[in-house]
């Protein structure tokens, strides 16, 4: 299968290290969210994978091969880096035709991707008349042109209207379902949470996390259970006996820390406690991400270790 493999990748611009000994793999059949604050090295990494920038050291391969050695690369990898890239004076259709021809992709496919991205009716208009959202759709159309097994998208939801955001989410889910390798960079947490299965998180060019999204959240945000009962004192005793920490607010709503709804529900019904409400309070990606970056900030404020020779 076609995976993206980044091995010990480093890129320096002058004295600034944009990507710092990065190693990770992006596997097919799932959407991998590529997270990190601005300047963390996400776009540089994508450019390195596409062979556009020369790495200072290390390698990036697609399906085991360097991008520059791929024959007709649009049939292997589709990428959206910058929605502003198409020339404003060219029509969307001409932009896609020029790209398609270079990789011997037929003109029928151009019309297909225009249809698929909802641009068919405006395909003969010049790109400068497009909104940012339409340009994003054109960038995605270009990425899908070669029907590639690997898709890389840099901030694809940028500028999309709510309808467009739902659309891109479904496109990403579908591409992953079809068994493709999908890497999507973003700095929008809620947005990423809505489509990603797996996460690769960068900070200052280094890898901070490479885990399934669920694990990432569960490891960093304590699961909590929210509940109400008619018998507060009995609940307090029951939870205390089983080592749960719980608090009650003014309205009689209980919050049980580090607890799962399966365990608490079973416990309460076993004790014959009348339950009015029982709900899991899911951690969000945003909470988990902030927790990670907070600990990273702590780490980076410690005195810098002398660099290895």
């Amino acid at each position: 299968m076609t995976s993206i493999d980044v091995q010990d990748l480093t890129k320096e611009f002058g004295s600034k290290r944009a990507v710092d000994h990065l190693t990770f793999s992006v596997l097919p059949g799932r959407v991998t969210g590529f997270l990190g604050p601005n300047g963390a090295g996400k776009s540089t990494t994508l450019r390195l994978v596409l062979g556009l920038d020369r790495p200072t050291s290390g390698t990036a391969t697609v399906g085991g091969r360097a991008y520059a050695t791929l024959d007709e690369p649009l049939r292997h990898v589709g990428a959206l880096l910058d929605a502003q890239a198409p020339h404003g004076s060219r029509t969307a259709r001409d932009h896609l035709r020029a790209l398609a021809v270079s990789n011997r992709i037929g003109p029928g496919r151009v019309d297909e991707v225009l249809e698929e991205t909802g641009l068919a009716s405006v395909a003969r208009r010049r790109v400068k008349t497009y909104s940012l959202g339409m340009r994003q759709r054109l960038g995605i159309a270009a990425a899908l042109l070669g029907d590639p097994p690997v898709v890389l998208l840099d901030e694809p939801s940028n500028g999309l209207d709510p309808e467009g955001i739902i659309w891109i989410r479904e496109v990403l889910r579908r591409l992953a379902r079809e068994g493709r390798t999908v890497l999507v960079s973003s700095h929008l947490m809620n947005e990423t949470a809505s489509f990603a299965d797996h996460l690769v998180v960068l900070g200052r060019g280094r890898l901070l996390a490479d885990t399934p999204m669920r694990d990432f959240i569960e490891a960093r945000v304590e699961p909590r259970v929210r509940m109400r009962t008619t018998d507060g004192p009995a609940l307090r005793g029951l939870l205390a006996r089983h080592g749960y920490e719980a608090s009650e607010d003014d309205e009689g709503r209980w919050t049980v820390h580090r607890a799962r709804v399966e365990d608490i529900g079973t416990l309460a019904s076993g004790a014959g406690l009348p339950i009015l409400e029982l709900a899991a309070e899911e951690g969000t990606l945003e909470q988990a991400y902030l927790d990670l970056t907070a600990s990273e900030a702590e780490f980076t404020t410690t005195p810098v270790q002398p660099q290895e020779a």
Binding site: R47, A68, A79, P86, H87, D94, R97
Partner: protein, 240 residues
């Protein structure tokens, strides 16, 4: 990757931009218009009927340079080059296709330009054009076409090095208009080997400098080759 699809792609990029087609049209118009003007008032002493008929090339070349520079500089706007090189990662091949897609139309339009400007120039000059032989006419038309194509490609190479159309035109246009007119008139010596001065020898009936018509064009070709090689090196070496 095969070369033909890459060339086809680059040709689509050129012909789908209205500004590129305008620049090609401007080569014919500017050359012919200024040649006709020069024919109305031919200078006395060193009057050269052939060069008078091709006088407008000095202005038409500005459009040729704009054409060659814009074809490349549009790639350096908003990361367009990244899209192009994602599709064609063999950068040398990509740049070669770009050069052919610039050079061939410039040569074709140059031939039309040469033919039209000579015809119009002769008509305006009337009897004074009688001294132009058939061989000189053919040499002028072909030379005009090759010269304009070489200047367009010179700009293509330079734009790839400078990565900017504005910088390329900012250097080339003052150079072509000012330096050549001022320094160029002080004929002889190094000035004869400037890219434009050397190549324009082919448009003269008689050449007094150190370069003949074809050797002059060869000097321009060397300048263009150097610019294209530098451009190719820049595209291959630098991060996109």
């Amino acid at each position: 990757m095969a070369f033909a699809p890459v060339l086809h792609s680059e040709w689509i990029k050129i012909r789908t931009l209205r500004s590129m087609l305008w620049a090609l049209g401007a080569i014919v118009l500017a050359t012919t218009a200024f040649s006709a003007l020069a024919g109305l008032d031919p200078e006395g002493g060193d009057f050269d009927p052939l060069f008078t008929a091709f006088f407008g090339v000095s202005f038409g070349q500005v459009a040729a340079v704009a054409f060659g520079a814009t074809a490349v500089s549009s790639e350096f706007q908003n990361g367009a080059l990244r899209v192009s090189l994602s599709a064609v990662p063999q950068r040398g091949r990509w740049f070669a296709a770009k050069a052919v897609a610039v050079g061939v139309p410039a040569l074709a339009v140059g031939l039309v330009t040469g033919f039209v400007t000579l015809t119009v120039g002769r008509a305006v000059l009337g009897d004074k054009a009688n001294g132009i032989t058939w061989t000189e006419s053919v040499r002028g038309v072909v030379g005009c076409a090759v010269y304009l194509a070489l200047m367009a490609l010179f700009a293509t190479g330079l734009a790839a090095v400078l990565r900017s159309g504005a910088a390329t035109l900012g250097i080339l246009i003052p150079f072509l208009i000012l330096v050549s007119f001022v320094v160029g008139d002080a004929s002889g010596g190094v000035a004869d080997f400037l890219p434009d001065k050397a190549g324009q020898a082919v448009l003269h009936q008689t050449t007094e400098g150190s370069l003949g018509p074809w050797s002059g064009l060869a000097v321009t070709a060397c300048w263009t080759a150097a610019a294209l090689l530098a451009g190719a090196w820049s595209v291959r070496r630098r991060d996109a």
